[in-house]
Amino acid sequence: MTQVSTSKAAPPLNRATRIWTTGVWFLPFGLFAVLFLFLPSIGLFVGSVTGGAHGLTLTYFGQLFQSQYLDAYKVSVELSAATALIGAVVGVVLAWAVVGGGLPRFLRPFFLTFSGVASNFAGIPLAFAFTASLGPVGLVTLFLSHHLNLNLYQHGFSLFGFSGLVITYLYFQIPLMVLLMVPALDNMSRWGEAAMNLGASPWQFWWHIGLPILRLPLLGATLLLFGNSFGAYATAYALTSGMINLVPIVIGQELSGNVVFSPSLADALAVGMVLIMTTIFAVYLLTNRNVVRWQR
């Protein structure tokens, strides 16, 4: 560290003063994070291993493996995995269409802005929009049954179940993937040209250069998509009126007092979510570190 030299020519600070000055700048940040992020999280953990007459106990974590709660995790993970994987594949294809020069140039900024908007358009209004399109009397549902004689709801589809949630979540997952991948794909074109210049076929390029370079960004982006849908509450709640067995919905039921079960169990459910999210996030950070090293 270079010492800041000022016209005031302050004498070198002693250690105590330096720590104190530094503390003042970090204090609001640290205090806020501790009070509203760390303590509540720790509180949940403490609540999940104590509570009731049990004293220190793993009872509630054990209860997570009861079918009802295990199922909630299973559905949550499946929903997140499905929307992350489909969103990732479709998003990459769409991003490549935008970047690869297949689409007219003037469409690019439009697509990117739209992706920015759509990836932030979620929750209650998104649920409404899909009800108006794919609900029992939605525009698309009616169109299909009138013109193509295809009645979605007679074929077991319901917007208010798992498949409906997947379709709806994709509305923000795909654009997010587009936004995450466009910068990485933009970089591909220069490597693509270099490979062409060296006589590589498109296949050779993608196999030896393109995919190895994209592997980590793809993984990282897919993980982000997973996390993005794993914690989602409002969209699922609005679409299914809280009737789907997802972990956030179950927690919400306890918290709002609609369904009463043990508070400690809700805490354990929440801690489980944080653990899964932390794992996802840690893997993401690890992949991202290597990506940053490459993208220069």
Binding site: A97, G100, A122, G123, F128, L176, F230, G252, A270
Partner: protein, 257 residues
């Protein structure tokens, strides 16, 4: 080359349909309040609803306080780490993006459990809502503060200001913040977009925010709900559009899921 162009076009058109059709359907639904009513009936009923305005005001106020809280908390720490304590930089960053791993529903559960009662001002519901929104917006605000600090020569500016005899508050308010302005604006607009539609936290804490108002409307008035969805989409478009114009090409995730 020709083949791939056609494929790109097909992909583009299908993608476009998937993203535009729900909006068209919503728009169409919102103007069919009833055969005897004019097509703007749903919109006029919303605009005439005092609840609409009060919930919008509440959400706007909450978004503004989240931005203010976030900045008060993040700017000094990020600035000082950048200027004097580089090894703290990655910590500030890490803690700032940590809220990603705590879903809103978990955050609000944790806050209610810990401060639900008997913690003085911390147990006030408005304080809890503001704090939760502040936490939720930390990652976005940190990104923009960090980008802003990186894009200007903070050290030189600070040293120049100190050399000219400025006090620390003066350096912060007259030199650093004005130069961060555009970068901060981008993050702030994203936080607005995020909090305008937020539902999980405010409904659990019992507030009639814009998101909660939308859900309640949907339970009783379907056409008005469609109109609201469209208004909300326009609002997000406006905020994100401004955000992208301000700091272009910044990938961010957000939204009230």
């Amino acid at each position: 080359m020709k083949g791939s162009r056609i494929w790109s076009l097909i992909v583009g058109v299908v993608g476009l349909l998937y993203f535009v059709v729900p909006l068209i359907a919503t728009a169409q639904f919102s103007v069919q309040e009833g055969p005897s009513k004019p097509f703007w009936a749903a919109y006029s009923s919303i605009l005439a609803d005092p609840q609409f305005w009060s919930s919008l005001r509440l959400s706007l106020f909450m978004a503004l306080s989240a931005v203010v809280i976030g900045l008060v908390v993040i700017v000094p720490a990020a600035y000082w780490a950048f200027l004097r304590v580089p090894r703290m930089q990655s910590w500030v960053e890490f803690i700032s993006i940590l809220p990603f791993v705590v879903p809103p529903i978990v955050l609000v559960l944790g806050l209610v459990r810990l401060y639900g009662s008997g913690f003085g001002p911390l147990s006030d519901r408005p304080v809890m809502l503001m704090a939760a929104y502040g936490v939720v917006s930390m990652p976005y605000l940190f990104r923009s503060v960090d980008n802003g600090l990186r894009s200007m020569d903070v050290r030189a500016l600070t040293e120049a200001a100190l050399g000219l005899g400025a006090s620390w508050p003066r350096v912060l308010f007259r030199v650093v913040l004005p130069n961060l302005r555009t970068a901060l604006l981008g993050g702030a607009f994203l936080v607005f977009a995020l909090i305008m539609g937020e539902y999980a936290i405010s409904s659990m804490l019992g507030f009639n925010t814009f998101g909660v108002y939308m859900l309640l409307t949907g339970q009783t008035r379907a056409h008005a709900a469609a109109a609201l969805a469209l208004i909300s989409f326009g609002l997000v478009w406006l905020l994100v559009g401004v955000m992208q114009a301000v700091n272009r090409g910044n990938v961010t995730i957000g939204g009230a899921r």
